[in-house]
Symmetry: C2
Subunit: 548 residues, 2 copies
């Protein structure tokens, strides 16, 4: 009998490992977990979002038995359209996650062709040789699941994005019983969320927010504006309950907030009586002390409600003195500056602004170190593969696993693209498959590479200068004064002298240099001249036309 | 007798209030405190640094009795050359601060003309009607001072950047005695550092780092690389002492690190025996377990030693497996992404990387909430003006002051440019003076305004396209195929078809549109065409030349 191999490959580039997409393979069968996007970093200029390069899966497309999506956040769902264009496999998700996938697919006109299947936590689905058990985990969106995947090579447990909250808003803690039961069966490998591996202790429960809300609601004399993610349904629930306790009405503000609240209410994930909800128009006519507005914009996005309120450019209403703004979120790494700027501007406009760490108005949706150790103890895996984190988080998570007695040889810290194989129950870390990340910019997928990015960096730094030159075909002399236009380099009205000197240089070069070298020479000489004068290096482009 | 007015104006734009520069005026006399720069935020494209607009002081230049610099950090010293170009007043600073100012001035060839005066903590200097007492404060650079400024209108206390460290590395705690004595005299107004106003409790002492260093030094089998700021002299001292305790030699790596260590040793602020120091060349020849390398690059700067080591582009040496890299610093806000990327890359290259929060290898140099309250209790000011923080920090600091019993009417939370006056012992918050921040880009000071910045933003996002068109003067027809060049927009080699369609559009327009409108029409139509095809909006520029 030949030994069959189980293969695990996290897909993507430098970034969080296995966060956006991963594949599990056994023989001629592939199971895909998650189809997410990564958000661009500050120096990825002009990029809208980033998807994993799943070229590795393209020639296996007929072998893909299913795509399982663990929860409804963008970094697990956002690439669904790109994936379905190449891989027409059936999708399995819980009701809320499916609802969010449907919104995405219908925007792209792809809903009809998609094979969506609803699963509930507690159910199991057979996909080729994989038997997938979905179990409930707490996270910062309802209806998240972890996966127990029985394969012919052994049982794999995938934590999903999780925390161990004993008092979650929806009353459904992570399924400890199932985790214990899976552990009892004997687990070949655990793949577990490493996001907060740097954080000691235990992540606070969502319940701590109720107390903070109560205190703020008691003190607020005017309107209360709560900013959070449109996907954070449990926070909407908490805001609604606080509003009810303090005799206020609640209005959802902004398209995504309104749409998500509607869907979550329809699906039963948000339980708010109709009598508590008012429209924004109604809310604006009520006494300030009777109103809570639930808005987007916690990341300082200029086009969000809070972003526009902070700059005084919101159309339907403005901030008023006496308003209390409550930022119920943390900055996503890279957004800190924008978030802090927005907070300063909200203060500047007269609002009282409350944010963590001023008050515990947000908690993380991810497990901290003690929870990570507990998961490891419950699952008691033979092998441990930390996922969902940058390399530094995986290294810390591995350190925690060693602390509780898992030997280094049984832990695999890998980067995206690395193949991990299980041969007859033994783990082998293999080579890397080609891959990486793909930039999406406008409608272009993958056409922005290092070259265009370097051009954008140069233009962002120093702008450009175009020189337009009309030459006499006979003798190569200049027919009219060179035209020079610049953008992003200097303020042109103040730089007339600089450009006059530049034009003189061009005239001088045209009279001296061989016409075939003229373009290159002007580019070089003007580059040098501008650097000497301004210590900046604008891109210089020269266009010549010839006429008799 | 006429009532004389004392005026306080923090200078600069939106940003930390009074951090980089402020003025204090009485009659025809001005005292300037600090001459610092602000670091550009991520969306200030191409900007090297930012200085306060001190135009307000230019017509008072003959009345400026002195410039006092509280400590040697860039945000308090970095603009000295720009300030001295306009304001040739005498400068007062402690020895280390003076040393750092001299380095800056000599690089700009301005040392000879500068009137530098050394003061020691504990001394007092009379500058016109101002009697300035310098008192020692702990901070993340030695030789920092706070100021007691006796004026005819009353006593003003300025905290400088401070913390209350009972066990500082240099053995010199903040001068509690002087603070108490100033408080006893009766203080009209306290200006105090608000940087950490969001942080509860008491900032840990520098001493906690010794324990963390010891633990790391005990475990490290190979070389130890410590990354920190080149100005953090006390950290150099701690590294040297840890090296000595664990039988290792210390090498300083990188120009700024080597230069600052040399100056600090000459001035007596860094006390390290010669026998402990080796050159980098010597260190590289020694056994890894015998070596500590002290480097720059804790902010992820690509050109720093740690930045180059993380990308494998350092010239003199590479990382080796077994190296321990210790990041003894926190990311400056806005640098988080770069710092984390550098940490991931260092791990990727096989180093063990230790950073806060993994181990307490860095502490803040600023006071936390309990220290702020203690300062307020010691000084017992009539009026309180929180400074050195963004608006959100000032608001929190004001809240702390209210908690300990200072009424709201006696607290002034203002933004840069706001005039605060004291008339006969009463505080009045006045109007704003013109001002703001000035961008420095290359050798240009203030020539980059909103317009050029918007151009850079547009270029960074979508690049540009230049169309060059040669027209027949007689009939306006196209003489040769339009030339199209783009940068930062699409990868040109893959976009031949797009540009061919664009050329066809240009030809069609040239045949149809009135020559006088042609340029505008092409810019508009091509803009629309490119957006429809790519969902990007490159800048489009058209150049035409005419020939018979």
């Amino acid at each position: 009998m030949t030994v069959k191999t189980l293969r695990f490959v996290p897909l993507g580039g430098l970034g969080e490992v296995g966060k956006n997409m991963m594949s599990l393979e056994y023989g001629d069968n592939v199971l895909v977990v998650d189809t997410g996007i990564m958000f661009p970093e500050n120096d990825m200029l002009g990029i809208d979002y980033i998807i994993p390069d799943f070229g590795y899966l393209k020639d296996k497309r007929d072998k893909i038995r299913g795509i399982v999506v663990t929860h409804g956040h963008e970094d697990h769902t956002g690439a669904i359209r790109h994936v379905l264009e190449e891989i027409p496999a059936p999708i399995y998700a819980t009701p809320l996650t499916r609802g969010l996938l449907e919104v995405k697919l219908s925007r792209g006109g792809m809903l009809k062709g998609a094979k969506l299947n609803t699963v509930q936590a507690g159910e199991r689905v057979k996909l080729g040789p994989f038997e997938v058990e979905f179990f409930h985990v707490c996270h910062s969106i309802p209806d998240g699941v972890g996966l127990g995947i029985t394969t012919p090579a052994g049982l794999i447990v995938h934590s999903g994005d999780y925390k161990f909250d004993h008092t979650p808003v929806d009353g459904k803690p992570t399924d400890f019983g199932k985790l214990g039961e899976l552990g009892g069966r004997g687990v070949l490998a655990l793949l577990a969320d490493s996001t907060n591996a740097d954080d000691p202790g235990w992540t606070p429960s969502e319940a701590v927010i109720d107390g903070a809300f109560d205190q703020i609601f008691r003190q607020a004399k005017g309107r209360i504006l709560i900013g959070t993610f449109a996907s954070l349904i449990s926070r909407m629930q908490q805001a609604a309950e606080a509003a009810e306790r303090h005799g206020r009405k609640l209005a959802f503000v902004g398209t995504s907030m309104v749409e998500n609240a509607k869907m979550a209410r329809n699906l039963g994930y948000l339980q708010v009586p109709d009598s508590l909800i008012v429209s924004l128009d109604q809310a604006l006519k009520m006494k300030p002390a009777d109103v809570v507005l639930m808005c987007t914009g916690t990341q300082g996005e200029p086009s969000s409600i809070l972003g526009r309120l902070s700059t005084g450019t919101n159309r339907s209403f403005d901030l008023r003195p006496g308003d209390t703004v409550l930022l119920s979120s943390h900055p996503i790494p890279g957004n800190e500056e924008m978030v802090h700027r927005t907070i300063n501007r909200l203060f500047h406009r007269g609002a009282e602004v409350i944010y963590d760490p001023i008050a515990p108005v947000h908690v993380s949706g991810h497990a901290s170190q003690e929870e990570m150790k507990l998961l490891l103890q419950l699952i008691k895996p033979k092998y441990f593969i930390p996922i969902h984190g940058e390399l530094r988080h995986l290294k810390q998570h591995a350190g925690l696993a060693r602390e509780i007695g898992i030997e280094s040889e049984r832990i695999a810290v890998v980067e995206n693209g690395t193949v991990i194989e299980f041969h007859d129950g033994e783990m082998v870390v293999g080579d890397r498959v080609p891959g990486g990340y793909v930039f999406v910019d406008g409608s272009g997928v993958g056409d922005i590479g290092p070259r265009v990015m370097r051009e954008r960096e140069a233009l962002a730094r120093d702008g450009f200068v175009v020189v337009h030159l009309s030459l006499d075909r006979q003798n190569g002399s200049i027919r009219r004064d060179p035209e020079i236009v610049s953008k992003g380099f200097v303020f042109v009205r103040d730089a007339e002298q600089l450009f006059e000197q530049a034009r003189a240089q061009v005239r001088e070069l045209a009279g001296r240099v061989d016409p075939s070298d003229l373009k290159d020479q002007i580019e070089q000489e003007l580059g040098r001249f501008f650097y000497a004068e301004t210590k900046r290096r604008p891109m210089v482009l020269v266009f010549t036309s010839e006429a008799p």
